[in-house]
Symmetry: C2
Subunit: 335 residues, 2 copies
């Protein structure tokens, strides 16, 4: 970095005849230094190229970037990031930018100016030129990546999407369901593909046919779940169970079932994905795949801080386990 | 402020023989200035008491402070703040601190060091010594205050809690209910009291007796709603309708109803409060009082930015309207 100070703070404190603690207070903009002393010490600092910004800014924030804020889902990631940042004495800058694949072009200028300790990106990947810019400024970044397939040299924290799809589908098969549909996220997101592959493997392992009509790609919102479920339930041979791509989609699927006169779980079983905090307060309580969103936020922040400290990090890619939580929205198929 | 620069940036640019634009780039830490030039210009800036921090920091962030992050509710406020901040070219620093009444003691030191353009506090009030500290540093603050009763000189954006309580209760009375219960937030929060007073006024206006047994204070979480509803439904003469203090509480009340073998709305009507995004995706869809949380975040941020600009502001207190949204969780009492 071009503006890294060359003289240590301790040396400047000695030169100014004050303690390192006092000099540090001035550098950090603390209020408990007399104005005259502060002015004198700031001159010493400035002479050696110390600007308050380069010192305090780099130790004060982590930046968390989303392409959209979505209740429940985003909040759990935010909570995880905030907790680890707070414990490290850091604030969290929250930025919304870009689309689901990458942050917007204006973001990169902003973040280089803001100089966070580290950046947590909730995106599939980050373009190579942006990676280079962040690296050249010494700003580490980690992708929280339930959705993506980032380059191997990009630090990321994801979760076991394939296993999640497998477990959800196997559960429905064990309940006697044969016509099992999968509604998932956009087809260009790796997490969608991984979950559907898990679904396919479970169907294959049970010797069940895979009907392409029963696999639908949508978005992760309730409206997407409702629309896809409505199509599925209107098929000549509708499914008796739906594996949804998110808890929000599952809510939409349950609404579509209600509108078609079907009760969940008696007439239609629905499995969600994520296990957001509200899923156990829905009626019926959602059977769902637990994705450790909060822990993904925590681990990503810990990884970014370790990288910021220049610590050696053995693995840049971490996939946290998912597990099935069986509640009230799935039931044995009555034949 | 002790470190406000005394010489204008234009004068320093002239002294250094560069354009104001170049000088501004250096001050803002932009990358597109040659290192040697930058170093020279930083010296000029430092000599006149310009540190990068005091300039860029004060134009880059608004700080949003919660005592807890709660899915749905907090996220809607965050979205409103983020949108207005983003439009103004500002980032959002998200901080979690303190209890529901006030931010923690460590927060005030942090925010004075961070120097946001303005602070949005989601708390009932802010203690006078903190107000003074923020004012003395020229950091404006606004309370987003669905919960409080702040001092008259504290800028705040709230919503019409009393009307909300009145409308919800009147709706239930119009559906023929007579035994109507109210579950609300903590008794020491003004919003709880205002809503219950609205409930009382509606009951009085309809000539209905107010049974103190039917008024319960709890917390705003689903678990609180469930516990209070369970008590109410176990009364010798249980209510046929419940006005809940939040949509989350309403979910808890519906769960308690289910556990007691009651269907909503056929056997028990439930009105929520807030109208979070998910409330129309619940089964049944929630009848609820719409609280414009997102707009409250927006207006609070606009007010903070106007104060930061030194603009005259006519009213420091703004209460946004609430309105009733009738959906599927309330029905006519069958007698």
């Amino acid at each position: 970095m071009t503006d890294t100070p060359r003289v240590t703070l301790a040396a400047i404190a000695e030169e100014a005849g004050v303690s390192l603690a006092t000099m540090s207070k001035v550098l950090n903009g603390r209020a408990d230094v007399a104005p005259a002393t502060r002015a004198r010490l700031e001159e010493h600092l400035a002479r050696h190229g110390y600007t308050r910004r380069s010192a305090t800014q780099r130790t004060e924030f982590v930046e968390l970037v989303f392409h959209e804020l979505e209740p429940s889902w985003s909040m759990e990631v935010i909570e995880g990031v905030e907790e680890v940042a707070h414990a490290a004495g850091l604030s969290v800058v929250l930025t919304v930018s870009g689309d689901r694949h990458a942050p917007g072009a204006e973001w990169i200028d902003g973040v280089l100016r803001r100089r966070p300790v580290g950046v947590i990106l909730v995106f599939s990947d980050i373009a190579a030129p942006y990676r280079e810019k962040l690296r050249s400024r010494g700003i580490p970044f980690v992708i929280v990546d339930p959705a993506g397939d980032p380059s191997p040299d990009v630090p990321s924290v994801g979760s076991a999407n394939w296993s999640g799809g497998l477990m959800a589908t196997r559960h429905l098969i064990e309940l006697g369901h044969r016509r099992i549909a999968a509604i998932t996220g956009p087809e260009d997101m790796m997490c969608s593909l991984a979950r559907v592959d898990g679904y396919r493997s479970a169907m294959n392992a049970a010797g069940l046919p895979i009907d392409p009509e029963l696999i639908r790609f949508g978005d992760f919102h309730p409206g997407g779940g409702e629309a896809r479920a409505r199509e599925l339930l209107a098929l000549p041979e509708p499914p008796t169970a739906i594996f949804a791509g998110s808890d929000l989609q599952a809510l939409g699927a349950i609404a579509a079932g209600s509108a078609a006169g079907l009760r969940v779980p008696d007439d239609l079983s629905v499995v969600g994905y994520d296990d957001i905090a509200l899923s156990r307060w829905m009626s019926p309580q959602l059977t769902t795949v637990h994705q450790p969103l909060r822990r993904m936020g925590e681990e990503a922040t810990r990884l970014a801080l370790r990288l910021a400290d220049g610590a050696g990090v053995e693995t840049l890619r971490m996939d946290l386990a998912t597990h099935l939580v069986v509640r009230g929205s799935t039931a044995r198929l009555e034949t």
